[in-house]
């Protein structure tokens, strides 16, 4: 028995138990099943990590899943360095968030359902990262999407929640469309869907072009970009980012687990996993880098003006994911995964803190109605502050190391757009610090701006919630210490560890430049915090005046660049309109049905005319008979 199999299948078992028996039997005890399962997974993961550290790589099939001719896909597992990093991230965050959920979800009527979904999600996510072939990856990919759909729409009696779930699923389907085609292209190119042969043979196809839909395109670019479509959807990059902010309709632990720490990073994982393919196409990498950079900037600007606490963090997530793609796009996959890893801790923490705040505020989301919460909920405050420092890239915190690594490699790498994305990255670092601390200041500092009732109700969250916060906080602060760069006297262990899978991107610049890059991003972070302090602690009237002065800009940002409206205008409404008016109204009703009903109707009309002849008058019949006789005889005579 391979004990690594326990990692995904324990949560699956928990899911089955909860969904089958939860409603009637387990009820309020449902969390035990799920938590034990995920804790078990975590323990096995740690054991597996030790195995991998000692150099043991697992790559084997459990059973053949689909076999059709030369096409073969299996349920199989690949556990290498990249997988194990993801496993750690997933099981740790999942376990902590499971525990947090006990307190957060207590008393909800769908308690068992919630934990069932969480377990199912954990299972799918683990299947995703542990896959050894593309089809199983796709299975996990869709599976986590499904759980995301369930959990976003968890409060399904709310229209907005069910809308958001549906939107998330469908928007993701757009990305998966490309992803699926990418898998098909991979199979048609390599004759297999397994990672190992694909990645080892990819070099042989480096120069090949292929005819795709009538265009001759570079094969590896095509495959890479098709796969990247999936990443765009799952990781909420431009232009498919619209679902993530809406996904905040789900319960906060869900936002933390799925929409911050794990699922949304699957896109980054995919790019990293397929780095042998991406590396062969400069075009694809450039697209990835630019998409990431633009998304990072774009989402950060939106986050500046939002008022919903969870949405701010959601846009922050989009922005940070953009960072990771930026890293991957400049060839620094290791740095991207590093940021993924640190980000999962501080972003999950941010969300959980937000959840804690909401818990205290009875579900209030608007940060303008908060303020001064510091004294009521100190643990939440301090953990959130640390998370924000981490995301703002303050030296010493986890986010600092990963962000710095990305910016440095962007600056120094060979990517043609490297310098450009570095500038954007530094700018985003500034914006990130600003909006993160805007959130902190508005929420925890100053005077309370909510109702009296809310104020009366303010309290720190229960232990089941604060303990995970503290544990995650340790991660948010310290998780970066495994990747301290050589420059600062560290060993960059994280990058070294991943090197066998992701390779190493070479920096061709001097130490002086490295110091400079680090200094710039640190300064950007500090100035962001400083500006936020100025705006929201000292001169609180500036933001309002700015908003009035640059009203158009403010409106555009507040309305998220009108992307949702644009999609509604160019996709959703035309599709339904076409269906209603053209397909049903014209094609089906006026053309096809016209023919279908027209033939019998025509026959009916014809017979109606013909039946006039049947007068029922005997003499008329006789006359016609005689006339017929006349004609026949006349014809016989004079033909």
């Amino acid at each position: 028995m391979n004990n690594y199999l326990l990692i995904p299948f324990l949560p699956l078992a928990a899911f089955l138990i909860n969904i089958l028996f939860g409603r009637k039997y387990l009820k309020e005890n449902s969390h035990w099943v799920s938590i034990l399962a995920v804790a078990g997974s975590w323990i096995v993961t740690v054991i597996t990590l030790l195995d991998v550290l000692s150099g043991k790589i697992i790559n084997e099939d459990l059973y053949s899943w689909i076999v059709s001719g030369e096409f073969k896909a299996s349920v199989g597992f690949l556990i290498d360095q990249l997988t194990v990093v993801m496993l750690i991230v997933v099981t740790t965050c999942s376990a902590l968030i499971h525990i947090y959920s006990i307190g957060y979800m207590r008393g909800d009527k769908g308690y068992y359902r919630f934990f069932a979904y969480l377990s199912l999600f954990t299972f799918c996510m683990l299947m995703l990262v542990m896959a050894n072939n593309f089809l199983q990856l796709y299975f996990g990919w869709e599976g986590v999407g499904l759980c995301s759909y369930f959990l976003i729409g968890y409060y399904f009696d709310k229209k907005s929640a069910s809308d958001a779930g549906k939107k998330a699923f469908i928007v993701n389907r757009f990305g998966d469309f490309g992803f699926g085609l990418g898998i098909i292209m991979i199979f048609l190119t390599f004759g297999t869907a397994y990672y190992a042969p694909v990645f080892s043979q990819a070099k042989n196809f480096a120069a090949q072009t292929v005819n795709f839909l009538g265009y001759d395109v570079h094969l590896m670019t095509l495959i890479a970009l098709l796969l990247f479509c999936g990443s765009i959807g799952k990781s909420a990059q431009m232009p498919l980012h619209v679902w993530l902010p809406d996904a905040m309709e789900g319960p906060t632990p869900v936002s933390a687990l799925i929409h911050a720490a794990t699922m949304v990073t699957a896109g980054v994982f995919l790019v990293a996993r397929c780095s042998p393919i991406f590396s062969l196409s400069e075009t694809a990498l450039t697209v990835v880098a630019l998409t990431g950079a633009i998304t990072a900037l774009f989402a950060a600007t939106i986050a500046l003006v939002q008022k919903d606490i969870k949405r701010i963090i959601a846009y922050s997530t989009i922005s940070q994911l953009g960072y990771m793609f930026l890293a991957a796009g400049v060839g620094a996959y290791g740095a991207g995964v590093f940021h993924l890893y640190t980000h999962s801790f501080f972003k999950a923490l941010l969300f959980l803190c937000a959840g804690s705040v909401m818990h205290a505020m009875s579900g209030e989301l608007d940060i303008q109605k908060m303020g001064g919460l510091k004294k009521y909920m100190p643990i939440t405050y301090w953990t959130m502050l640390f998370a924000s420092l981490s995301i703002a890239g303050m030296p010493g915190f986890a986010g600092f190391f990963s962000k710095d690594e990305i910016l440095w490699l962007a600056y120094s790498g060979q990517s043609p757009v490297g310098k450009f994305v570095w500038v954007i990255g530094a700018l985003v670092a500034f914006l990130t610090a600003f909006y993160s601390f805007r959130l902190i200041f508005l929420t925890f500092h100053g005077k309370f701006r909510g109702t009296h009732e809310q104020e009366h109700h303010l309290h720190e969250s229960p232990k089941t919630m604060t303990v995970p916060l503290i544990l995650l906080c340790i991660g948010a602060v310290a998780s970066g210490w495994v990747g301290i760069p050589h420059l600062l006297g560290g060993g960059a262990h994280f990058m070294e560890f991943l090197k066998p899978v992701l390779g190493h991107s070479e920096a061709n610049a001097t130490h002086t430049e490295e110091w400079m890059v680090m200094a710039i991003s640190t300064i950007a972070g500090f100035s962001g915090i400083g500006l936020a302090a100025l705006f929201y602690l000292v001169k609180t009237d500036i933001p309002v005046r700015l908003a009035q002065k640059f009203n158009t800009v403010y409106k555009t940002l507040w309305n998220k660049y009108y992307v949702d409206e644009l999609y509604s205008f160019i996709i959703v409404r035309p599709a339904i309109w076409t269906a209603k008016n053209i397909l049903i109204g014209i094609t089906d009703a006026r053309i096809i049905e016209a023919v279908v009903n027209g033939v019998p109707k025509g026959l009916g009309e014809f017979s109606r005319i013909l039946r006039k002849v049947q007068t029922g008058l005997v003499q008329r019949y006789a006359a016609i008979m005689a006339l017929g006789l006349l004609i026949i005889v006349a014809y016989m005579l004079w033909r």
Partner: protein
């Protein structure tokens, strides 16, 4: 010359009476003209040396069928009958069809070629007598059709009774 004159009288009488039969509005008058018509046809048969046929023409047609006609006419309301139109609205069409058919038939009459003559010459019939000649043939060569004809009459009798009988309770 005499035969032609004789034929001419009968033929013109037959045509005139026929026209009268189909144009009278009073059915009784029609029947009376028809009676005269049948007698003239019988006369024509005599002229053609068919005395037995002439006899049954008078007996069956004039004696039986026409009487039947009279009985039926007596059932009707004659007064009413005299007041309404006797032709259907589109009678010219009927006239045209009849006339056209007549023209067509007449146009082929002249091309008629008689086949070879049989053994029943006038002398033979004179020797045999007409009735006997006909009877012999009817009861030998045409025995089965003759029997079938009797069957037809039987069916007609039964059928007429069934159809004309009032249903019980009516």
């Amino acid at each position: 010359m005499l035969p032609e004159l004789f034929f001419g009288y009968y033929a013109s009488a037959i045509v005139i009476f026929s026209l009268l039969v189909v144009t009278r509005s009073n059915p009784v008058h029609s029947i009376m003209w028809m009676l005269l018509l049948f007698f003239h046809i019988a006369g024509l048969y005599l002229f053609l040396n068919a005395e037995f046929i002439a006899a049954i023409q008078v007996i069956v047609y004039a004696g039986a069928i026409l009487v039947l006609f009279l009985f039926v006419v007596l059932l009707l309301n004659l007064r009413e009958e005299l007041k309404v139109k006797k032709f259907i609205g589109s009678w010219p069409a009927g006239l045209f069809i009849a006339a056209a058919l007549l023209v067509i038939i007449l146009s082929v009459v002249k091309s008629f070629v008689p086949g070879p003559a049989g053994k029943y010459s006038i002398e033979f019939i004179k020797q045999e007598t007409h009735t006997k000649a006909l009877g012999t043939l009817l009861y030998t060569d045409y025995l089965f059709p003759f029997e079938i004809a009797s069957l037809v009459l039987l069916v007609a009798i039964i059928g007429a009774i069934v159809l004309a009988k009032r249903k019980k309770g009516n």
